[in-house]
Symmetry: C2
Subunit: 383 residues, 2 copies
Amino acid sequence: MRDVGIIGIGQTAVAEHWDRSIEDLAVEAITEARRDAGTDRADALFVGNMLSGELAGQENLATAIADAAALLPIEALKIEAACASGGAALRAAWLAVASGAHDYALVVGVEKMTDHLTDGVTAALATAADADYEAGFGISFVALTALLMRRYMHDHAARREDFAAFSINSHRNAALNPRALYRQPITVADFIASPVVADPINVLDSAGICDGAAALLICPAAEAGRARRTPVRIAASACATDTLGLAERADPLVWQAVAGSARLAYDRAKVGPKDIDLFEVHDAFSIVSVLTLEACGFADRGSALRLAAEGRIALEGDIPICTLGGLKGRGHPVGASGVYQIVEVVQQLRGEAGPAQVKGARVGMAQSVGGSGSVSVTHILRA
Amino acid sequence: MRDVGIIGIGQTAVAEHWDRSIEDLAVEAITEARRDAGTDRADALFVGNMLSGELAGQENLATAIADAAALLPIEALKIEAACASGGAALRAAWLAVASGAHDYALVVGVEKMTDHLTDGVTAALATAADADYEAGFGISFVALTALLMRRYMHDHAARREDFAAFSINSHRNAALNPRALYRQPITVADFIASPVVADPINVLDSAGICDGAAALLICPAAEAGRARRTPVRIAASACATDTLGLAERADPLVWQAVAGSARLAYDRAKVGPKDIDLFEVHDAFSIVSVLTLEACGFADRGSALRLAAEGRIALEGDIPICTLGGLKGRGHPVGASGVYQIVEVVQQLRGEAGPAQVKGARVGMAQSVGGSGSVSVTHILRA
């Protein structure tokens, strides 16, 4: 396998893009990534997206984007792995370049969710859960996650406000990111006062519905060295799965797919949690951050809340997470989020994260999670 | 890149599977492929599917199938390229094995369409077309294809009944395939008498709505040689795209994606149309077969109807197509069809196609087409 590097990044602002189509958003991000790389070369396009069929009436999305971006007759495939689709698209592109099948591959993650009423989006997101045994009984995705949070609170004697530090961290960092959706800092009081969505999860504990696209250009490391921008190397790429339904798990608070994809990535990159300078966590809800940090070896079981309480997840902490706002602060256009994470790790490893810069960052990790932790894609990048 | 071989194949009957879930169908095909290969090894699962979100309320389908097939914590990704999703899933799996990232990869194409009313399925299938400029104005997928057929009839002075030979061929071959949906032979008179769906396309010119799953196990050619079954080598894998909308094309009767993916495949396999012993064509409608045979170099422009009229596409002809019934006769569970095609080419190259056997078949081609020829995936296999 060939080593692979990232030589271009692009992203739209995360927002409610009422006046733009899903293709418009993708093209903007792709165009920025190509300009950033300083090359028009592209042999293939891999699209990460979850809900273009349900929400935009558009399957065949990779072709639609290849056409809109004037990339024809390029190879173009859409990869779907629920909320992990963004990470999965990079993984598929990495396979294509690592194999030698392609030299320059574009990756774009895109989602457009705000054209629909909230009910429709909630129903669409529930397709990430088990259609027959979960969603079919009317449980929404946030309600499933609320079960996990309640169980965690019970097992570890935690209060709702103990989770606030995660959202506060993401909002603080998002305020430093001009592309982020929620740039206002929040306090513990705000968190406690925010309306409940599905008890015990409240509004300020939930990533919001939004639109956005992020893009990458990757190529063999040997060629990346000659690129305009200092390349960032993909040191590891890994994917793992767990049961689709929560009820099937021996212990719902042990996230096997998340742990498994991280373990594979650590092995392949020959690093451990201690070597990770920043970690873009899939913080769709703060309980996800908690279970992720425990599954990936950053905290012992039942102790991730302390990690946040002690400020260790902040930019100046020993394991900064969601450094440019994460899903909570930057926003979570679901199929795009995994690619936004990679864009942000590249910004950090290039030293271009501005006021959100993690000093001396050399090794960054990003992780996409789909369903209730049922699928996970982990990438480790090196400066 | 490593050479890759196919060592196991499996398929469900194509039918209306009212009593089975989409996961049930996938598991049956996967189980048969693993039994056929005589090994339980599997490092990754690639799922080809177009409409599980719209029709089964299930995204995250690759995880769902990995779970149902007891493959956890295997890597699992769903690939979507409209009606070309099956071929695209093999392509993604091929990249993973050719790269060295995985040794044994399972591919399953699956679609379950009959749980819904025809109107719902018709709307879902229209997501393969341009949502904004085609489907948004109410045109269905068959109506788009009807425009192509009418134009072809105009340009080449063809009559509707001239297309009958394609459907007759597919039904004749389907009668020899115990897994096929439509096993009754048809005549020109039947074809002419069948009700119009979208003028000039009639019922017997259209692949029907149905359910099914087909699966493959692939591995490096070096290991395939030690497998229980004689391996079939993947000599070429290629993908190309064309404009999403028909109106954007300079000439709608020249299918650039189909031609492009075939040309790439010929180059990679170092063969030409004359070397192909059988060709599994994406005959969703007979005009698709016509445009495909012309785009892929089997017939000059305007002359593919003659190829059928002269019996050259029959099992005993010089370019047998749809040898086990094709999409028209075997059935077209959309995201599964591309994998069914590969299963059938393997049956032919192993010499196990029974009464449908193409004598002396050594090189077979299969091609998935998505949208109105907007994306195409071509594979060439060698005994």
